[in-house]
Structure formats: C-alpha cells, structure tokens
Symmetry: C2
DNA sequence: CTATTTATTGTCATGATTGACAATAAATAG
DNA sequence: CTATTTATTGTCAATCATGACAATAAATAG
C-alpha cells in the first residue's frame, strides 16, 4: 500500500542525466546541482532516490561498465566466423552505431582511474577484454598472422575508435570518420599481407 | 631599486604546477589550492604572481599551445625528405620522447573545448595543423598515394599516438607502446602498397 | 475517510573554493 | 639607515557544493 514508488524510473533518469553531464563536464565538473538540473529534478530528489555523491558515482560506474560489457558481448557474439572484419569495421566506424557520449564517458572514467585504485583495476580489465576479444576475432580470420601483429592491429582499431569520438568536443568526429575507417581497413589488410 | 622581482620564475613554477595538476585532476579538478600545494607556494602567492583563475587558465592554454606548436615545428622541420617515416615512428612512439602528461593535458583541453567556443577554435586549428603536417610529410615519401589514403594514415598515426598515452592513468601505456609502433608501421607501409 | 507510504519542496549547517585585501617581512638603491 | 619595491603570510567575505532533515503534498490500500 502507500504511494507507488518511482525509485526505478527516477534512478534511471538521474543516472542518464549524470551520464550526459560526465560526457560534457567530466566527472569533477558534474556537480549534483547540474545533474539535478539535467534530469529536471530537485537536488533533494537526487539524494532521495539515489543517495549521496559517492553512491551516485558508484552506481554510474557500475551501470556504464555493465552496459558496456553487455553491448560489447552482443556485438562480438554476432560477428560471424567468416569475414568478421567487415562486421568489425561497420560496427566500430559507421555513423549508425556511433556514440560520442559513450566514448567521452569511458575516457572520463579512465582519467579518474589515475586517482582511484579500485576503478583502475576495473578499467584495466575492461581495456584488456576489449583488446583480447578483438584479437580473437582477427585471429579467426587471419590465422596465419602472429600474435604481435594481431595485437597491434587490435590496438590500432581501438585507438581509431576512441580517438575519433574523443574529437567530438571539437565537432571533428564526423569529419574524420571516413579517414578512421580507411585506416582501420589498412590495419586489417596488413594482417593478410603477412608472410 | 626595491626588492628584486621573482615574477618570471614564480610564474613558471606555478604554470608547471598547474600543468601537472591538469594532467592528474583535469581542468575542473585543478583547484587553486592544489596548484598552490603542487608548486609549494601559498594560494595568495599564486594570485599575486599570476592573477585569478581565469588569468591562470588563459596563461596555461597559451603556454601549452605555444610550446606544442614550437616543439612540433622543430620536430617536423627536422624530418628529412627521404625516409621521413622512420623519423616519424621514432619521434611519436619511442620511450625516449614519450610524454604522457602532455597528451593528458591536450586531452583535457579538447574536452574543455566542448564548452568554450574560443578554445574550440584554437584546438580545431591545432588538430588540423597536426594532421596537415603529417599528411605533408607522408606525401613527400609516398607521392603516388592519393589524398584520402594519406589523410587516413595521418589520422591513424595521431590516433595511435594519442590513445597510447591516454592509457597512462591505467599504467598501460608502456604495455601498448610496441603494438602502437607496429600498427603505425602497418599504416605507413599501406601507403607504398597502393596501386 | 483514515492510515500509510512515498514523492516533492524547502531549508539550514558545513565545508570547499575563490576573490580581495591588509599586514608584515625581505631585499635593494641611495 | 631610509625609502622603495616586492615577496610572503594571513584573514575575511562571498559563493558554491554537499549533507541532513523537516514539512508538505500526493497516491494507494483498506
């Protein structure tokens, strides 16, 4: 009985607002006031539904990493054994799936990790998994390439993917999407050119 | 007459401290108190020698961009007409010249540029010049490659260069230096493989 | 309607950040 | 030593960010 709880939906709204704030102002610049304003709620409500700042940050980090792992798994699992690199290119560098905010948030988390031991371990694991999965996909298609080459190509793809959207604050991410895609193809093609 | 001024050296110390703080805490996280502590001075002295926060930021941005242009020009001008790509690889990906703080500061400036019209224009110019110069160097060596390929390779090199040191907070920049270098070579070699 | 639960608003205290400036100490020229 | 200039220290007020909580309004069950 009693008034029905909006905790779940409100929490969702608040975390989405926090997410957008981090993409725009960074973690340090995302004050509770800004988050409240971005979510269209009073600051007291932010506290009421989620808690203090620490709880808010914990929840955001958990959520971002969980969603990231989730979507990445879905993406990776959908990659066919044959011609997987085409899927990679499409998934990483098409307008369609591009999400600049996402990269800016991840970038912020990596930055914060420099001063947060626990977060650092999680982001290291995150990055490791990212590269390992990519390497695995590439290995399926280019089984003759050695490990160093595969790792180099994986890191190259990730770098292109990250760097492209980290230029979003300059409004230059669209301008360099095509170059990024071409460069990515160069990296992949290099694997088949191996001796 | 009067007591000799320490304005120049103190300003230098303060801006260096600010620089380190930005690399560690970001622009928003670099409070005057932290900058003062990092420089070993009282906050009042920071104000005395440089001014308020706005003046401090203006001076830092000017200094970072000026030094960046300066060092980049020196680097680019030293590149020989023949075999320039070897110099590029060495300059961008050797331990010796690596400077993670520099990239983290630039990254912070790009991020800030999202909320600062004037800064955005300057960083756009900065990024444009970076890629243009790289493209020019590559064109000297791979004159048969078309513009799109050159631009893609340039953007790829920059992405690898940036992304590598942006992993510094995770302590993973050393681990991926070699992959980055290998990937960079792949990109460059792709230009000679052009039809 | 009543009791209960939760949303919503508002407020107050505390601490952090910044700006401004007074007061003192130190160095130098003459 | 004196006058002058600057470094250095210290302090106070204004603003912002946060935490805590009281008070009210709204919704629901019975």
């Amino acid at each position: 009985m009693g008034r029905p709880s909006k905790k779940e939906e409100r929490t969702e709204e608040i975390l989405n607002a926090f997410y957008r704030c981090v993409a725009r102002y960074g973690m340090e610049g995302s004050t509770l006031e800004r988050i409240a304003e971005e979510s269209g709620l009073k600051r007291s409500l932010v506290r009421h539904f989620v808690g203090n700042r620490e709880a808010l940050e914990t929840l955001l980090v958990d959520r971002v990493l969980e969603q990231s792992f989730q979507q990445w798994s879905t993406f990776i699992d959908a990659i066919p054994t044959k011609n997987g690199s085409e899927y990679l290119l499409e998934g990483l560098f098409s307008d369609q799936y591009s999400d600049a905010e996402y990269i800016l948030v991840i970038e912020s988390l990596i930055f914060c990790a420099g001063r947060d031991e626990a977060l650092r371990l999680r982001m290291q694991e995150w990055m490791q998994r990212f590269t390992d999965d990519l390497t695995l996909v590439l290995r399926q298609e280019y089984s003759r390439a050695d490990n160093d080459s595969l790792e180099a190509a994986s890191f190259g793809l990730i770098s292109l993917y990250f760097n492209l959207d980290s230029l979003a604050p300059l409004g230059m991410n669209q301008r360099y999407r095509q170059p990024a895609r071409i460069a990515a193809r160069y990296l992949i093609d290099s694997l088949s050119a191996e001796k």
